[in-house]
Each structure stands twice: as C-alpha cells, then as structure tokens.
Subunit: 569 residues, 2 copies
C-alpha cells in the first residue's frame, strides 16, 4: 500500500516536472478576453500555478485592468492604509516565477492595486509600466491668487463636483477620490515650488465654482504663485503599486511607475530585494507634476539586502525611500515575562512583526537607547493594535510603560547607487537600517533633506539608527529648497532634548567624496551621533534659489562623539 | 508507547470532564479588572472554552466595555456595513453555552459591537441591557423653523463641531460619528412626526453655529415643527448589537436593546432562532427619541424557525423585522453550467449563501417569476461582489443576464406573537419567508405599512414571496401616519408594471380577526397575489391624525387571483 502511494507520488512529481518544462512560459494574451485584462490574468496566473510555468509573458501592448473581477484581500501594509484591497496580480505563495511585460503598458481603473506578493520566493518582475486612467490626487493650474484664496483650473483629467461649497473629486464612473491637503508645484522646474508648504486644510475647505472647471478655494494664509500647479493630495494611501509581505528574493527591473494611490514598492518583513532601472515619474504626455501619491519605495522590518540601482525617483508625493523597522509601544506589563504592546500608528496596525523565536530590543522612548534584549516565546494577537507578547526570559528591570520594543534580529544591507532623486515632495532617502548601508553615485535634488536619519518611538514609531553608513560620490544639487528638514544631510531622530546627551542613536557614518552644489549654507545637521567623518567633499555655491533669510550654520553637530569634519575648500 | 499515549489521552479527557462539571458556571466578575470589562470578558470566555463551562454569569451591575482590547474580525453581515469590527463577546465556534446578565447593564464605548456568534450552536443569552455612552445618531431639539433652514439645539449628549459650515458629530474621545440624513420625531407622541420624510441631505448640508449648542441647518424645502426633535441619522451601520452568522439554536430572552449603531439582532444563514421578551426602546431617562439606528431584528437566508414573542420594538430607526433571502444577480454566463453572479447591494457583498449541494432558483428579474431550479456543484469566490458558480445540471434555456438566483433550499417557519411595534421609522414587519408564517396577537402603531411583503431583484435584492401567511388577532392602531408605504398591509415587491399580470409572487395569505383602528382609509394594497382571504376583521375609524388629502381606496387589489375580501362592518 505504502509502496503504491510512493510510486503514485513519484509519477506525479515526474508529471508536474514535465508540465513545467513543456509549459515553461505562458502567454498572457491567450487568457485575456475583451477590454478588461483582470479576469484573464487571474486565469493565467492560476494556470501558471497549475502547470508550474515559470514565466508569464505579455506581448507588447496596452493592457487595461478594472477592479470588478480582481482578487480581494484585507491587507495591512506598512505606512499605507490597511483595507480590503483588490489586486490585478496576486502572486501570493508563488515561487520561482517571472513576469515579463516586454515593454507593455499596464493601465488601471480605479481602486485596484497592481501587485500583491505575500509569501513569495524568487520572483522577477520586469519590462512594463503602471499608470491609472484617473489619478488619486488632482492637479489644478493656479489662475489667480487672493488674500486667503486661490482660483484653480482643472482640466477634464480631474473631474470634480462642488456641492454646498465642498469640493469632491470623482471620475467618469462615479468613484470618489477624497482629498486632504494642498501642495504647490512649479510646472516649469517640475518640482515643489520654492519653500512651498503642505496646507492640511482638509476636504471641507470652502470652495466656490466660478465657472465650469474653475474653482475658488479658501484657505487661511494660503500663499501661491499664478501659473503654478496646486496639487490636491489624496486623503489616504489605499492603492499601492507593489505590496510585498513576508517574501524573499524579489527583483524589480525596468519598470516605470507613473502613478498609484499610495507607495510604489512597499515591502515589509521581506528579504533580499533588488530594484534596478525602476523609474518613478509622471506618465509622459500626461501633463502631471506628480507621479505617485506617496513614497516611491519603502521598507519595514526587511532583512537580507535591499539594492536600489540605476533608478529614477521623481515627483512622487513623498520620499524616494525609507528603510526602517517598527516600534511597538509597551502598553501593559502583565507578569514577569508578559507584556501587551500596541502598534500605535494607524498605518502600522495589523503588522505582526513580533514573532516567536525573534529577538527584540527594549528601547527607552525618550532617548531611543536600547536597554535590553529578549527572545519572544509566544504571541497572542488581540486585534490590529494590541498583541500580548510572552518572552523567554524575565523582562528587564528598567522596563516602563510607553517604551518600545523592536526587532533586534536582522536588518537589511542597503545599497543605493546610480539613482536620480528629484522634484518630489519632502526628503530624498530615509535610512534606518543597522546593517551596512552604502549610498553612492546618486544625484539628489530634493526640497527637503536629501538624506535623513530619523526614527522615533512617539509619533511615527519607526525604528532606525544607522550603525554603518557610507555616503560617497553623490551629487547634492541645490537640495533643501523646500521646507522639509534643516540641512542637506540631517538627523531628526525623535528624542527628548534632555536625553540627547545620553543617546548615540546613529553611529559610524562616513560622508566622503560628495559634491554639494548649494544655494544655502546648511550642509549637515546632526545630534546624538557617535563617529561621523565628513571628508573630501566639495562644496560649490550657487545662486539658483534665493539665499535663506536666517540660515543655520553649515555644520551643526550636537551631543555627539568622535565627529570629524574636514576643512572645506 | 501507543498504550501510554492512550492512557494519557484518557486521563486528560477525564480531567477535562471533571473541570467542566466543577466549573459549570463562570462568574464574569472574577475576570474583570478595572473599569474596562472587555479584556476580562475575553479571558472569561477563553476560560469557558478551556474548562467546558456552560454558563457565564454576571453579578447584577453595570459593566463598561471599551473597544481597545476587543476581539476584531472582518465581518460581512447582511444589510449592515461590512468592516473590520470589534466585539466584546465573541462566542464564535462555541456550543451549549449560556450568558446570564442577571439584570446587568452592558454599556459600550464607541465602535464596539456587543456580540459575535459565527458557527455557534445552542446558545442562550439573557437578562441584560445594551447601551452606548454616545449614540451613533444625534438628536437636536428644533428651536426655530425658517424657509429652507431650521435651528437645532444639541445637549451635551451630542458633542459636535462646526468647521467650514460642515457639521461633524464627535464624542469626548475624539471619535467621529458621521451622519447622512434628517428625520423629525414628535417627542410627546414618541414617534416620527406626522407624515415626516427622510431628508437625505448628506453630511455637507451647510450649517452655521449660532451659539454653543445651537446650529442652523440649511436644507432646501425642509419642513419641521418647533419643539420636535430632529434626528441626524448615522451614515453607516457599522456596529450591530448581535451578529449571528451560520449558527443554530439561539435563544435571546429578557434583553433590553437601548442602542447600537446598526441592527439589533442580525442573523444570516442561521437556523432556529428564538427571541422572547427582547425590548428595543430608548434607554430610560436618556431623553432620546431613537433607540437603535436601524432594524430591531433582521434575518437573511435563515431556516428552521424564527420565533419572536412578547417583544417590544419601538423607536428604532428602521423596521421591527425583515425576513428574507438574498438574490445574486447573474453577471456572466460562462458555459452550459457555469455562471458568474454578483452580490449587487453593497450591504450584501461578501455573504456566501451560495454553497455546494444547495438548491438554487432562477428568477426573472422583471417579474420575480421562478423559471428553474438547479443544484450547486461548486463555487469559486472572486471577491466580495463576484462568485463563479458551477451547477450540477445544465443551465435553464430561459437564463439571461441580470436575472437572479436565490436559495430554493430552506426557509424559516416564522412566528411573531404578542409583540408591540411602534414609534419607529418606516414599516413594522417585512415578511419574505416561504415557509409557514404566523403573525398573531401583536400591536402595531407604525408610520409606514405595518406589514409589508416586498422582495426585488433590482435594488434591495431581497428574496421574498410568502407562500403561507396568517395574520390574525392583531391590533393595527392608526398605522400609516408616516410616508413609508401606501396602506396598513401592503405588497411592494419590485417588478415591472407590465410583468405584474404574470407574477403571483405572494401566495396563500389569510388575514382574519384583526382589529384596524384607523384615521385613514387605506387598509390593504396588494398586487401579484394568489389566494388572499381577508375576513372577520373589524375596522374602527378614528380622528387621531388628519384625514389624508387624496386617500386611496381601502382595498386595492391588482393582478391577483383568488382574492376574497369579506364585507366589512
């Protein structure tokens, strides 16, 4: 009997093997019927799984994806908004698989995310672009500027209605695109307007429609320039482009991310991610000043390596990347080895990064000083916010409520090389991995800090603190022309002022052989750092932007040790 | 070795058995620490499961339930809004279990549903009340009435803020309570104002705060009476009191449902439900005119029996009950035995009532005529809206897109007896079960039809059509003083006018020995009925409300067969 089973199993394996070889590549076109590619791609992926095909290939062309027949899952994904999301490509659970768009355009309609990859291994995605028929944000040309109001003109790309003085964006299928904030862009320079600020005026800022397409928006204290573009920012991050959860060995290459309603590539608890020749940019010919509505890439609690090379990240409405862990806040101490922790930030709720056998650090919330480590024995999830955690060993004596715990297990080695980062909102790259991090040969033209070392256990709850950071051979071209930050390279880790002398949250930083072209003096602003060397960098003064009114010193260093800043030319 | 394991197993079973006998009853108080009962009840229920205790008992008192540590599940529940919900009592998977509140008050804070019962068997709930510290709707006294606006006064029970002429309800913990509509109540008669209508003005109807607590609300064409109460209706039904899914043998008794943010008892795909001495009424002393924000009870695709006896259903913001199945709309025909169906109504999405081995009827959407039956072989859920269904036998020749399929498998026997239904919004009871339905010895004082036979495959997608309905010995006391319906007993099944002659959607109706006290002539208005007998009823004319301006005939019968209306006194 047992023998028979073994033989059947063996034959099955052989047969699957043959199928896999025969049907190594599936042509997406063979499965698509009609205008909407979504159901066809669902069937094609199913067939890939059944046959063991290793590749799904698209003949070059334009493919439209509607949400109606898309796969649906409730997804909690870091720094985006958790929700019941629809996905065109759900590759969850797949291994050793490649999708080649061969230059195709993937165009999405409404609230559908292109890719979900949960528990996937060895996946390659390449050669396609991602865009949407209607953007999740809206852009209007500034026609007039008054005291506390502006007149904005919307083209037919941004359908809207005004009811009871309230502005609601919509599309030709009656979907709503809620908005929350305003930010001004310079359409000639293709970047945020000089020193522009976010107006978090909310969706109920009173408006008046002056004529079809022209709306007066009232915002106290608003400043703007006629001819610029006012961007009405999406209220939520519900529709990221690539959602990566608990996956390993992923390669993204030659992908153009023109738009999505959230982050471009967001990966959490994943390992070994390579992003090469991925461009974040507004769709050519779209006339848009904004590409994605949030960060181009973002990594939470990842490990192995993150390699971002030869990429363009421009005009997205947040940073080019942010690499960090998560802090869970200690909410209750139940016993000598049990606590309840809370995921405080709503966009981190539901992410179960605390797992049995993982090592956790205990962190003082005010100083970000790690005072203990312990191994997780078991967890019991109460809801998306609260989890009961039992540790193998007794809790540290210093433990107190509102401190944080975070992964002490593994951090990703980071390489960011040959990338261009420009014209987006806010900062360039936020670095928080404790493994070796190399930033080299990049070009930065960012309105905020080009490189930011952040992390806090109070507001964003992002675990950071570099331990081995090399920043070399980059060009910083007139960075910090906006309002996000205080220098081109900056520490902004959240800690109490009186705790900074105790903390050395960022360590071992080498900044060398970079070129700073700058209209403003603020190059470096750091605190709570141990060992920072700034050497062999060149600084070229420009007059490309107005000189700041009350500039800070070029190098501000506080509460730090072993800082070595070489004399400048 | 095997023997040892067997002995250990046996001893374990013995031990568990002893525990279960010893600990047959668990005292909730033993588990509650501090003000918030939620974590304690979670532990108590866990302990009940572990020990096999059959009863959880509350010493009489007031218990507060906060959402923070509550169990969380994504729930699709019929005719309420699907969402990630928190529950104080999650009894899912439990059998043979009773909760006795012994007269306790259960008071809930914010967005937390009291009870979830999914896949439960033999559960008894008794002797407690349910209320909320802040209601999901808001009530304001009408201070002045102008052309197109009213001034409303809110007590501190209904915190709000006005920003940019937009009214937002809140509470003392900064939660938001979105609103959507207005409905006027008469606080003296404790019912909807005479012929009051719903104003679906939306949450952005412009307002102006005149002084703290007094707000002017602008609604074109609004009519209201000074001194009455304007109810600002909750925009969604997110927080039902009792969510019952796929469960069997449930008894609710001696429960006061003072408030919740959705339906009171909502049961789907469940069997044998008994509701006895359950009162839906505004909390005593609260000064509220509204109890629950939606139907008091509601049943979708249930079977076995539904018995509602000795209950009071008053002042809820929708019907006292509605018993129906669901129609899924045929969206695509894929092969001779495969279709894709859509759950069209957003509040029915995600409910998987189409299951293998179940028998389905095929229904013409325009006439509601059933033209075939077939058995489900398998299903493949695409997302909450769409499901692929494979049938055992070929599809009927008559099948066409946009027709419906619904359960032809089992319908619940219904008994509604000795209940009082009054003062609520809309109708009394909506009856749609095809099994024997007896409505006897009840008192109705409803602003809409007291008894409504509805069902349609176009808008609400509720399968109905009685086959054996007895309405006897009820008192209909001045019903239809509002605007929902056209007679005291009414058919309003949704079908095309030209199809009504073909349809006999409701059948075998006996209305006898009832007492109609009525200010208006409209007693009965039916169509597409086969066999209706109206006999031995008494009608007493009153002048309790103004006589209608253009009354219909007392008995309107169209497109029906075998209708026998006995001469009246």
């Amino acid at each position: 009997m047992l023998k028979t089973i073994r033989i059947i199993l063996f034959v099955n394996i052989l047969f699957a093997g043959c199928l896999s070889l025969q049907a190594g590549t599936i042509n997406a076109k063979d499965y698509i019927r009609g205008e909407d590619a979504t159901p066809g791609i669902y069937e094609a992926i199913k067939q890939c799984k059944l046959s063991g095909a290793r590749r799904l290939v698209f003949p070059p062309g334009k493919y439209e994806f509607r949400p109606d027949y898309a796969t649906e899952k409730y997804i909690f994904i870091s720094n985006n908004d958790g929700s019941l999301k629809r996905f065109a490509f759900d590759l969850s659970g797949m291994n050793d698989f490649e999708i080649d768009g061969q230059g195709s355009q993937f165009v999405f309609h409404g609230f559908i995310s292109p890719f979900l990859m949960e528990n996937t291994r060895n996946i390659k995605l390449r050669n396609f672009s991602i865009d949407y028929t209607r953007t999740f944000h809206s852009e209007g040309k500034i026609m007039e500027v008054y005291n506390d109001s502006i007149d904005v003109h919307f083209t037919s790309s941004y359908p809207y209605r005004v009811e009871h003085q309230v502005l609601t964006f919509t599309d030709d299928e009656k979907r709503l695109y809620p908005w929350m904030s305003l930010l001004e862009f310079d359409p000639v320079k293709r970047e945020t307007a000089y020193k522009a600020v976010d107006y978090w005026c909310g969706p109920n800022a009173p408006v008046k429609e002056l004529e079809p397409g022209v709306v007066r928006v009232y915002v106290p204290g608003i400043r703007a320039t006629k001819g610029n573009v006012m961007v009405f920012g999406a209220s939520h991050r519900l529709v990221p482009a690539f959602c990566v959860l608990s996956s390993e060995n992923l390669e993204f290459s030659h992908i153009d991310m023109y738009h999505c309603g959230g982050m471009g590539i967001i990966a959490q608890m994943s390992k070994n991610i390579s992003i090469n020749h991925v461009n974040t940019t507004p769709a050519p010919g779209s006339g848009r000043v904004v590409s994605l509505t949030a960060d181009a890439t973002h990594f939470s609690n990842c490990s192995g390596y993150i390699r971002i090379t030869d990429c363009l990240f421009e005009n997205q409405k947040d940073d080019a990347t942010n690499i960090h862990g998560l802090y869970a806040r200690i909410d209750r101490i139940l016993s000598p080895n049990e606590i309840i922790v809370q995921m405080v930030h709503p966009q981190q709720a539901g992410i179960d990064f605390i797992l049995p056998q993982k090592s956790m650090e205990f962190v003082d919330a005010a100083s970000l000083v790690t005072y203990a480590e312990n191994e997780v024995a078991s967890t019991e999830k109460i809801n998306k916010e609260f989890t009961k955690v039992t540790f193998r060993r007794p809790l540290p004596a210093e433990i107190k409520l509102k401190d944080g715990i975070a992964s002490a297990d593994a951090y990703p080695e980071v390489l960011i090389k040959n990338c261009r980062i420009r014209g987006n909102r806010a900062r360039g790259i936020l670095l928080g991995s404790r493994a070796k991090t190399v930033i080299e040969d990049n070009y930065f033209h960012t309105p905020g800090a080009a490189i930011l070392l952040e992390g806090d256990c109070r507001f964003w709850f992002e675990q950071a603190g570099v331990r081995n950071l090399i920043v070399r051979r980059n060009t910083f071209d007139n960075c910090y022309f906006g309002t996000w930050g205080n220098a081109v390279i900056q520490v902004a880790s959240g800690m109490d002022e009186d705790k900074k002398p105790l903390s050395r949250y960022n360590r071992n930083i080498l900044i060398e052989n970079n070129r700073f072209k700058t209209f403003c003096p603020e190059i470096l602003n750091v605190y709570a750092v141990d060992k920072l060397t700034f050497k062999n960098n060149t600084i070229e003064k420009t007059s490309d932007y107005p000189y700041p009114v009350n500039p800070a010193e070029p190098f501000v260093v506080a509460h730090s040790s072993n800082v070595n800043i070489e004399p400048l030319d």
